[in-house]
Symmetry: C2
Subunit: 136 residues, 2 copies
Amino acid sequence: MEAKNKLRMTKQRQVILEELRKVKTHPTADDMYQMLRKKMPKISLGTVYRNLEILSESGIIQKLDVGGTQKRFDGDITIHSHVRCIDCGRVGDIDVTPKYNLEAEAQKMTDFMIFRHRLEFTGLCPICQHKKKATS
Amino acid sequence: MEAKNKLRMTKQRQVILEELRKVKTHPTADDMYQMLRKKMPKISLGTVYRNLEILSESGIIQKLDVGGTQKRFDGDITIHSHVRCIDCGRVGDIDVTPKYNLEAEAQKMTDFMIFRHRLEFTGLCPICQHKKKATS
DNA sequence: CTATTTGATAGAAATAATTACTAATTACAT
DNA sequence: ATGTAATTAGTAATTATTTCTATCAAATAG
């Protein structure tokens, strides 16, 4: 019943972690797969999924659920929020630190035991802003 | 090419809307399907999906994306946040109105054009709190 | 009132994203 | 170096959702 947590640092796991930390985007599992197979052509999509899952479970990376059909991943585990472009799905970072304790505020309103919050924004990325302008 | 917006109030659509407004939970499409087929045994899962989509697109209900694998729906379209139980997935309402303009704050930090925000909490629902207590 | 067109339905099939299975391989402690 | 449990590639299966198709019913035209 104990969590053994024997994490082996395989080549695949290492490359996945390195690559995710390198990019400033927030790739989906498939994005990662496409990126990775350039360096490691025989890597399998299942391996990418499994490792992203394992790495996020052990808190080494972050799994994002910012809307849209696919999960995304972030190598930056510091506290920050995200914006998602409603047109193209691109996800960017935003550093907004709420000026008061949202969890405490929320705790007053519910019988759930509150652990943490997630603040996310929706908007238009620079590229899609330009496209909109061109169309009008 | 114009948005005609001809919404026919069919029996199925009506029952879906009524049922969603009646419950205080935040059912998935399949939850709805299971609930609805008790009243309307021949209703199709596709119809449930399509109508929840149509109703949320026209702003009559809300489509939620609070994590987990399935989308959820909310008949309450007033501004409010949600908590999701990390154990069972149950979703509850929380009325926290941030005391300052989060969008404006975020806009300073990004070149995305910010439209709106979404604030969500994670925690343990009352039922799972009890289960945890019993186990310890 | 009857015909037409338009939107909606049930049921099945298709697609997309993710997870599970299996035999072969590999990292790592001894 | 060797044993063994973890991990892999490749494939199959599953899950959630969307699309397709033939049919049906309401609304509108004549």
